[in-house]
Symmetry: C2
Subunit: 205 residues, 2 copies
């Protein structure tokens, strides 16, 4: 068992990480501008100035690069959501800010600044691992806020916690899943506030 | 002013309605099977056995036929929703059944029986008049149930009615809009019950 924890030191060594990061950064830039679907690994290699073979040394496919970009993007959203929660004093306010931050960060990263929509859409359609993990962590964050609110007496305790959490997650889902978010542009500004208020009314003890 | 209400009796007379219905029925069948986007009015004419010119006598474009099919389809959903509401005794039960019937009828008409998804998607994307009117009528139905529940004392009265109605409509929207519904197949079975329960908790006096 001990043996498994001793990783062989590769000849390429720690620089691997740097090269991977470099590829991911350049690919993020390139996909943002030219789209993910239409770009091939050859296009990408040409644009970055690496050989295709060199890229394949670090990533087995375009999707593997896409998954890394997607994971970074979701981590960024999650960081903003966590910061929004941490900046609020009471559980109800945490819930409001969570909903708002989640919607705004998703809109910005998927559609505005980075236009990573195509990657996000593939990720959501094909249920990439990063998406699955992200959704679970968001649900965990939500459960934590709910639990805290039950302890402080801000939220009711009659409904089973997992039932409450699932229902609220279903209310939030159209604003965190890019496939749904793209059809809600008319509502994205006002929806988080209205839906948070409804959810908070549903949580009142 | 009186003159405007006296419509001239056309030479084609009342049979116009029958022919229009006949075209719409045949087109619904044809689009369900072969899709709306790819089918031209010529294809449709050939399939029905009418001349293209004859169809254009009754409908100015393919979209005009699509709009009629869409309006019929939405009327069908609305009839089912109204029947579901009428069959329930209390306002909370009406709300539950409304949500369930709306989701089930939308799924069946857009995706299963008729596969009218392409028409529904164009209608929702381009905001056809029939969709607009349908959404307004659904919101009106919702308001009626809410108002009734406020009168019976089942629902709280502190929140302004239009605010409550809008928030609940936003919760329901992913299950009545076909563009959103297609990305919620994993949740369509359980979501209406969970979301109705959450909404009813939010309405408790």
């Amino acid at each position: 068992m001990n043996k498994a924890t001793t990783y062989p030191v590769s000849a390429r060594g720690p620089a691997d990480h740097d090269v991977r990061d470099q590829i991911v950064t350049a690919a993020t830039e390139h996909f943002s501008r030219y789209g993910y679907e239409k770009t091939t690994v050859s296009d990408l290699a040409k644009a970055i100035g690496f050989s295709k073979a060199y890229i394949y040394k670090f990533f087995e496919s375009k999707q593997a690069i896409g998954e890394m970009i997607c994971a970074n993007c979701l981590r960024e959203i999650e960081t903003e959501v966590s910061a929004a929660i941490a900046g609020a004093d009471t559980p109800p306010e945490k819930l409001r800010r969570m909903f708002k931050a989640m919607t705004e960060a998703s809109l910005r990263l998927f559609f505005q600044d980075r236009k990573l929509y195509e990657i996000a859409a593939s990720a959501a359609t094909e249920r990439w691992q990063a998406v699955h993990a992200y959704e679970e962590r968001i649900q965990k964050l939500l459960q934590d806020v709910l639990q805290e609110g039950r302890q402080t007496g801000d939220f009711e305790r009659k409904t089973p916690l997992d039932e409450t959490a699932l229902a609220i997650y279903l209310v939030m889902r159209p604003y965190l899943n890019p496939l749904l978010l793209q059809h809600s542009f008319d509502y994205n500004k006002e929806a988080p506030a209205h839906l948070s208020s409804l959810v908070l009314r549903s949580l009142s003890p």
